[in-house]
């Protein structure tokens, strides 16, 4: 279990119907690649977030499959269409089975 995992999301608080908005997400996570060795020469086991999804009221915006080549503290920026008022659900899936979630509400402007 990676400790101190904290998701951060930047999303607009309100939008007009049909607006395309930019979403930025950052989650603190070491993303251990499984390639590095510790000071004794032992390989440090892989521990990464392997999947990230973003949904709006249950409809998928983006679904990212991540490999060890994603940097520490994975950052994603992408665009979404907001058809109505509702909630943006961000979900990160860790190798160890943990799921990190964040929700942002978007109101109609």
């Amino acid at each position: 279990m990676a400790s101190g995992v904290r998701p951060r999301v930047k999303a607009p608080k309100s939008a007009a119907a049909g607006d395309v908005v930019t979403l930025k997400t950052l989650i603190s996570h070491p993303m251990e690649s499984g390639q590095r060795k510790d000071s004794n020469g032992n390989t440090i086991p892989r521990s990464i977030i392997n999947r990230f999804t973003c949904e709006f009221n249950g409809t998928t915006i983006i679904d990212v499959t991540m490999e060890p080549a994603i940097s520490t503290n994975p950052y994603f920026e992408f665009e979404a269409t907001i058809p109505e008022a509702g909630d943006l659900q961000f979900t990160w899936y860790d190798d160890d089975g943990s799921v990190y979630e964040e929700t942002k509400s978007v109101a109609m402007a």
Binding site: K37, T60, M66, S71, P74, Y75, E77, T81, I82
Partner: protein, 138 residues
């Protein structure tokens, strides 16, 4: 300059390793692309891949991919120990087929983006990124 038999063998082995290694790396990339496309033809162009020409730190290289009309974009780093980087699948509410993230690059190499278009065709593009300090630890 005289070589002993032992030295000659060592040099030959080194030369063979040098010529064989790139082929192995390319095979891994081809396998990854085939797994993504299912063996379909891949056209050049049609995908925008934005990455710095020179990245000082291979641990966080900002990369942006976009492809109009794509349903999925796969990003590969040809020179990494494992070429896979990420696969972006765009859903119904995606505002555009655009995504930006930060990746690790082990050294100077080609970054490849392969997009699956809505009509089932595939497009690819690649860009060389020079890396000053590699990002895979040691």
């Amino acid at each position: 300059m005289d070589f002993t038999r032992r030295e000659t063998m060592a040099i030959t082995a080194g030369a063979v390793a040098l010529t064989v290694l790139p082929f192995r790396a390319n095979a891994a990339v081809d396998d990854a692309i085939n797994a993504f496309t299912g063996g379909a033809d891949v056209a050049d162009g049609g995908v925008d891949l934005d990455a710095p020409e020179i990245a000082e730190n291979g641990n966080t290289v900002p990369v942006t991919v976009s492809a109009e009309g794509a349903t999925a974009i796969m990003v590969l780093a040809a020179g990494n120990p494992t070429p896979g980087v990420a696969t972006f699948k765009f859903g119904n509410l995606a505002g555009s087929q655009y995504a930006s993230t930060r990746i690790r690059l082990a050294g100077t190499q080609d970054v490849i983006a392969v997009a699956q278009m809505a009509d089932g065709s595939f497009a690819r593009t690649s860009k060389e990124v020079k890396v000053t300090i590699g990002g895979c630890g040691g």
